[in-house]
Amino acid sequence: MQSITENDLECIQIQKHFGSVRAVDNVSFEIPKGSFFSILGPSGCGKTTLMRMIAGFEQPSSGDIRIKGNSVIGTPPNRRNVKMVFQHLALFPMMNVYENIAYGLRCAGASKDVIRTKVHDVLERISLPDVANREITQLSGGQKQRIAIARCMVLDPDVLLLDEPLGALDLKLREAMKIELKLLQHQFDTTFVYITHDQSEALVMSDNVAIMNEGKFVQIGTPQELYHNPTAAFVAGFVGDTNRWAGRVIRAENGTVEVETEAGLTMRGSVRGSGAPGVGDTVSAFVRPEFITAEKTTGQPKVADQTHNVISGKIDSILFNGANSRALVRDRAGELIEADVVLTGGTQDLKPKDDVTLSWSCEQTMSFKG
């Protein structure tokens, strides 16, 4: 299986069955050289199984995995040039930092001098030049993270797999490590495959993200594509915050639909995803809070038109979070709708119990059949 390709990693129609359970179902993707690729999905979606197949700890039931164009089916894990950063890092506690990093080089049979140079080199690159002789227990969480990456990178892998490595860190450190990981990836110019259930990690760091659900890849794209142009209801609901209505089409015309929600609201939306819903079909409609404008109801109420939905309601509560503050608005049908608001701290700010008018563009009302 030799083919000339620019892709570091290709998966072709991978399937993995555990008994009757399809953990990974017909997944195909390719990752170009030097990119940061994330697989994002809820827990139990099969992403860990997929990663373990790439690393060689599991064998796919069918399909092919190619690294730099060469099939690795049947190659044992220790012979694949794919390295992995484990969820809990799996640093070896009985070895110090130097030995942890040198382990892989020793396995590869490198000479003592080469090992020393390479270990010190990689420690320089992760900006921890002085920790070589520390014990693992003496390192901070962030340092451990970097050592775990260095331990893999010193072996110059074709692909680096990262299995939710930030999960165990506290919030502040996690934010910092997100940026750091991205920088490290640039610096090493190696393909990173990053597995996570945390959309913000995936969106911030990745060049491309695959959304995985129930063993299948639902959509692959850049973070912006996924956020703004989801091709499936699952993606729209899973990536980013959103308001969601289930409803029925009461009118449909080239690309737009009028939807009546279960609670009785009517709104116009743009049809997304595959399949054009006809009158009477059930649809899911999604609107992100940042696209909804909330204004105090004044004497002259706005009215809905061809391009905008308008409804009125009363503010139930205000969730203050600085620039990301949000209002929870109860509409006439009794549902809660989330809308981003700007709170300046002045007297004009919206307060609970205020009557408000919500408006958003029909284009931003993403409607999916089914």
Partner: protein, 289 residues
Amino acid sequence: MMQNDIKRLSLFLLFAPFALWIILLIVLPHLGMFYISLQEKVGPRVYEFGLANYINFFNEPIYWNTLIRTGSMSMLVTVLALLLGFPIAYYIAKIAGNRTRGALFLMCLIPLWVSDLIRAFGWILLLRETGIISSSLQWAGLINTPIEFLYNDAAVIMGLVYTVILFMIVPLVSTLDGMDNSMIEAGYNLGGNGPTVLRRIIIPYAMPGIVSGCIVVFMLTAGSYLTPILLGGKNSSWFTEQIYDQFITRYNWESGAAFGFLLLAFTSLVIWGGLKLSGQTLNSTVARS
């Protein structure tokens, strides 16, 4: 004030059983034994204070040969128990499912439900010339005349390994259990093959369990009595037999007490050496698991 007294009293009450146990059952008897071991018999009901019993031991090659023999066979048993116990422990801790685990542990425990004596008789029934193994080999046509498997050092070693292996498996399982599976996977992922992962990762990680298992097994073996006596052959002397003979058959408590202390000193020395060699401490091994 009152509170403090109550606290102190309850602490004392908690500590008392342990202290009593240590003092009454361990310290006092050993002091008594040590005192007896320093008595030299010079005539009926006449004793003198001296080291003759210890000197006697070193002057008589039979005694120290038996001690060395007991020591080296105990080490062999320890090594065999480790070699056999490690895969079993690894299987229990890392491969078996949760439910089979309990069953496997139980199977390892079952031999301990019967006494040493019964276990030894079990082996005798299996191994004797007219025993089960010999007869089935004959029945299968593999041998023509009955073979005696009993009454030799191999039988003693096999019987001892069988008796003590659980004490090797338990600490090994508990350390291996604490080892994250991803540690092993990381070992492979970074390029190690099976032997490398075993040698560089699993064994170093399990070292505290290995050492603590070895200490317990070595002590139990060197101090065992029934198994070597019942399964042993014409030439297989065991040091505890020597001690028993001194105490019981020869009425020579003084010398028996000295032998007891020599066995204690010898096993302690071996264990100290083992700890030094493996770079472990008692705290990191026996006290931990």
